[in-house]
């Protein structure tokens, strides 16, 4: 046993000692043989020379002995690595190009994978995430429930251990006098118990704490909120803070790393849902028909229950609800999904986009491999003499190949390590980045073990792939021929392989350039496009009157006073109030509408759920929404006047058959109210830029009071002084009202965010691809020119036309460039259909995009062939001939 261990140790580590002994033994052999030869009459020097020749190629039998010892893997490796390092040091520019290429590409892959890992692959940071599911309607992905429906579902369901729900709300949090707007999760009392989450400090609230409306004034802080707003004060428990002026007691702090149950909205605090009236100013606890009350319902499935079985149960329960409460509920089919990305709603586009990005990053890596492969092949050709010499001296071909592979993998490991390091820095910056100031988007993307593992794997695979390119060349090497002639034979085949690699690489590059131009152009169009609202030159003031305790008739009064106050600011041309501005964070309310002739007003009989916006008379002018026909609201459309509405063209189309047919007609709401259409507004985008046209209804604020308040102020003056003036006017009316004032365009950043991220990441990948193809074409052109430099020089000296010379030298690289670009362009056009799901108005059928791709590729080609062309033209035949 011990002996075997010792032998293993010798094999792994003792090789250097054995090697030394072998050298010593062989030299002693040579000395003794020389002694004998000297005795036979030869001079000493001659004797030693003869002795060495007799012994033969040391290199070969060192290999043989190593094989005879059956091991020394690590020795060989160490030797190869040392040799590889020496070779790399000898050609620093090659090494630098290779390492930088790999660092960029592997780094990009690591970053994209880290995002994929954090957003798609990793489950929520809660105990037993594998059995955590949320409940979604098959029809529209929504997980909404009204509170009474939730209570019934919770009491009757059997599939989950228990279910909980939450709503995302904003509220004014007042810690010591200065209220700030924060994002909250308004959760059912059992939220934390359903998650099996342990508190970091204190305790949570429970279902048992709920005894009707406003009965549980407890607040749980998130770890980040506790750290940032309470300075990690452990004495925070039992402190009283105010939410919208109402006192709440801090009972606990959630653990670090728990950011709520929705990846895209991490709340600062959690309050029990029964306190809803205090938090948002109105109570929907009894409103069975308001299905948006709870945003998401989820729970842990019981062991042994499949998601499919649970979905069947809930579809059944939904049918029961619809039968029991026909006026309020409609039956829906359900499915179970993960809560992280709100089921497939965010999940599907995120998965598609990140998978596409990962694919593109992978393609870049492939392009880099192709690039480095041809570099390696060219280098192997330049090193033909060295390789041939080693083969002639008896080194086995497998040994030479192993050496080349070691070199390739070593380079890619160094590049990979650098790339991962740079990627980690980038990720740290990304994690600290708040792309949308007023929205709690906070996804910790960290380079964890999985990311490092993937980067390492990619580096090794990469090295093996591009290291494999010159294999054939080495196997085909005829050592003696090479040594004699000084050049490599059989070049035709290798050039063909390299050509194929280059075409593939340029095609990938053109694909990426196309994709990035398409997305940048789409972004540019959506920034300047028409979506029924014009954010240029407008400021948005967001507040909630409930945050300052306004109720009942005080609400419309205050709203009107605010509007009038804003109108007195110099330069202001229009002021409009709306409960929610389309395309900003948050969301609008939806309600069912019915054709006028219908009498059965149950949800199942409705003519669709449409978006409801509560607006003041000046809204349309302030928001820049064009009225196609009819009139805007006036202050006379109040509680005492007939109910009126303005609809968009899509609603008119759906309810009355034509975009302009609705004017003067009536439709009904669920409560039986008849609304007369007095105006038709242009269609717009409301929730996302990529949505299909959706119907919307505008109703006057005096007929549908709302506490949510956004003021759109359009002005011809300077935005900064406008914002300051707005703040002064607001403070004059009520100093305790928390508010947010910013340009309307900033509030729309959330809807622009996917397009911006897409354009940014594709832009970066596109730039990297461009860089790669420059080095690729440059490499081939430079190589072709250097091989034929003598011939070109002679032709020039004999008076050949320099254009003809250039053509013969660079025709091939340029040809390849054209082929590759054409292939990439076609692929890019095909791939851009995926992009249109993420980027509004991303279409490759845009002459500017197509022309842009062609110009970019031509410029790249020009740039990459410029230096080799100059070199070919300046070839001095005399100097070249002398060199030989």
């Amino acid at each position: 046993m011990l002996g075997r261990l010792r032998s293993l140790r010798t094999r792994l580590f003792g090789g250097a000692r054995l090697e030394r002994e072998l050298d010593e033994e062989l030299s002693s052999h040579v000395q003794m043989r020389a002694d004998d030869l000297e005795r036979a009459g030869l001079p000493r020097a001659e004797a030693e020379r003869r002795a060495r020749i007799e012994l033969g190629g040391q290199l070969r039998f060192k290999d043989e002995i190593r094989d005879a010892m059956g091991g020394g893997f690590l020795d060989t490796l160490a030797q190869d690595v040392r040799f590889a390092l020496r070779m790399l040091r000898k050609s620093p520019s090659f090494t630098a190009v290779a390492v930088i290429t790999l660092a960029l590409t592997i780094g990009a892959n690591a970053v994209v994978f880290a995002a994929l890992n954090a957003i798609i692959l990793k489950p929520l940071n809660v105990p037993r995430p594998e059995s955590l599911y949320s409940l979604h309607r098959v029809k529209n992905e929504s997980s909404n429930q009204s509170y009474p429906d939730f209570v019934d579902l919770r009491a009757r369901q059997q599939s989950f251990e228990d279910i909980a729900g939450y709503q995302i709300d904003e509220a004014g949090l007042d810690i010591d006098g200065e209220p700030t707007r924060v994002w909250l999760f308004n959760t059912t009392g059992n939220y934390f118990d359903v998650l099996h989450l342990r508190p970091f400090l204190g305790h949570y609230f429970h279902a048992a704490d709920e005894h009707g409306p406003d009965s549980a004034p407890f607040i749980v802080l998130s770890y980040d909120c506790w750290r940032n707003r309470f300075h990690s004060d452990r004495g925070v428990l039992d402190r009283t803070v105010r939410l919208n002026k109402h006192p709440f007691t801090v009972v606990g702090v959630t653990p670090k790393g728990f950011v709520g149950t929705l990846l895209f909205a991490s709340p600062e605090a959690f309050v029990p849902f029964v306190d809803q009236e205090q938090v948002i100013g109105e109570s929907t606890l009894e409103a069975r028909a308001i299905h948006g009350t709870l945003f998401c319902v989820f729970g842990h499935l019981k062991p042994g229950v499949t998601p499919e079985r649970a979905a069947v149960e809930f579809s059944g329960l939904s049918a029961w609800l619809a039968k029991t409460y026909p006026k309020d509920d409609a039956a829906a089919a359900y499915k179970l999904r993960r809560p992280n990305l709100y089921g497939d709603f965010m999940g599907r586009p995120m998965r598609a986009f990140l998978a596409a990005l990962m694919l593109l990053a992978g393609l870049i890596l492939l392009a880099a491999c192709a690039n480095l492969g041809s570099l390696f092949a060219a280098r192997a050709a330049d090193r033909a003499r060295e390789l041939a010499l080693r083969l002639a001296l008896g080194a086995a071909r497998s040994r030479v190949l192993r050496q080349l592979f070691t070199e390739a993998v070593l380079i890619s490991l160094i590049g990979g390590a650098l790339g991962l390091g740079a990627g980690a820095l980038l990720l740290r910056a990304l994690s600290a980045w708040r792309p949308i100031p007023q929205f709690p988007l906070n996804i910790p993307i960290v380079p964890d073990v999985a990311v490092c593992g993937v980067a390492l794997l990619l580096a090794v695979v990469c090295g093996l792939v591009f290291g494999a390119v010159p294999v054939r060349q080495v196997l085909d090497t005829d050592p003696y021929g090479t040594l004699k002639s000084g050049t490599v034979g059989g070049a035709g085949r290798r050039i063909a392989l390299k050509d194929a690699l280059l075409v593939a690489q340029i095609a990938i590059c053109a694909l990426l350039v196309t994709a990035s131009l398409v997305s940048v152009r789409g972004l540019e169009r959506s920034l300047n496009g028409r979506y029924g609202i014009d954010p240029h030159g407008t400021m948005l003031l967001q507040t909630g009157l409930e945050m300052a305790g306004y109720q009942g008739d005080a609400v419309p009064l205050m709203q009107k006073r605010l509007i009038e106050a804003m109108e007195t600011i110099p330069g202001v041309t229009a002021v409009g109030l709306v409960d929610w501005v389309p395309l900003t964070t948050g969301g609008g309310n939806a309600a069912n509408v019915f054709k006028d002739e219908k009498t059965d007003l149950s949800p199942a009989n409705s003519d669709g759920s449409v978006l409801f916006l509560v607006v003041s008379p000046g809204y349309f002018r302030a928001a820049g929404t064009t009225l196609r026909s009819g009139r805007a609201f006036t202050w006379d459309d109040d509680k005492n006047a007939a109910r009126v509405a303005i609809v968009n063209q899509e609603l008119s189309r759906r309810l009355f058959g034509a975009p302009d047919a609705a004017l003067g007609r009536f439709f009904k709401l669920r409560d039986g109210a008849r609304l007369e259409v007095v105006g038709i507004a242009e269609d717009g985008k409301y929730e996302t830029l990529t949505e299909a046209p959706q119907p919307a209804v505008f109703v006057p604020a005096l007929q549908s009071p709302t506490v949510a308040l956004s003021l759109v102020v359009r002005s011809s003056g300077d935005p900064q002084s406008l914002a300051a003036a707005m703040r002064v006017r607001l403070r004059e009316l009520d100093p305790g009202l928390p508010c947010l004032i910013q340009p309307l365009s900033r509030s729309m950043e959330l809807v622009m965010f996917p397009a911006k991220i897409a354009a940014m990441s594709l832009g970066i990948l596109g730039a990297m691809a461009a860089l790669l193809s420059i080095t690729g074409i440059f490499g081939l052109a430079a190589y072709t020119v250097s091989r034929r430099l003598k011939e070109l020089g002679i032709r020039l000296a004999l008076g050949a036309d320099s254009r003809a010379v250039l053509r013969s030298a660079l025709a091939r690289p340029v040809q390849l460039l054209l082929w590759g670009s054409a292939a990439g362009l076609v692929l890019g056009v095909l791939a851009s259909t995926v992009l249109s799901a993420v980027v509004y108005q991303a279409t490759p059928r845009d002459p500017l995009v197509l022309a842009g791709v062609v110009v970019v590729m031509l410029l790249l080609g020009l740039l990459a062939t410029w230096i080799p062309a100059q070199r070919a033209l300046s070839a001095d035949p005399l100097a070249l001939l002398r060199e030989e």
């Binding site: 002693s28 052999h29 003794m32 043989r33 005879a68």
Partner: protein, 113 residues
């Protein structure tokens, strides 16, 4: 071809074992000894010797130790281990059987078969 190479290799191992069995020897000494006892009829190629020696050491048939040669050169000396002695006996017997068999085949006269 493979058969011939194997025979040669086996033969070389046997010759080395025999040479070393006559006394502790260094590599060069083994070459000289084989040449000497075979009356220079068998000349071992120098390049083949060391791989064979390493193989035999690894198989535990020989053991090596550093020492000083007759003319004061530092050299690595080989001697038989117990296993080596056993192997030498077996191989010698096997070789003798083979040689006898071949000799009797070669001595056959027409008509005997």
């Amino acid at each position: 071809m493979p058969g011939e190479a194997q025979l040669l290799q086996g033969t070389l191992d046997l010759l080395i074992l025999k040479a070393v069995s006559l006394g502790r020897l260094h590599g060069y000494g083994i070459l000289l000894r084989i040449g000497q006892i075979s009356g220079q009829a068998l000349l071992v190629e120098q390049g083949a010797l060391y791989p064979a020696l390493f193989r035999l050491v690894r198989q535990g048939l020989l053991k090596a130790s550093w020492g000083t040669s007759e003319n004061n050169r530092r050299a690595k000396f080989y001697e038989l281990t117990a296993a080596g002695r056993g192997r030498l006996r077996e191989e010698t017997a096997g070789w003798n059987r083979l040689a006898t068999a071949i000799a009797s085949v070669l001595a056959a006269q027409p008509g005997e078969a």
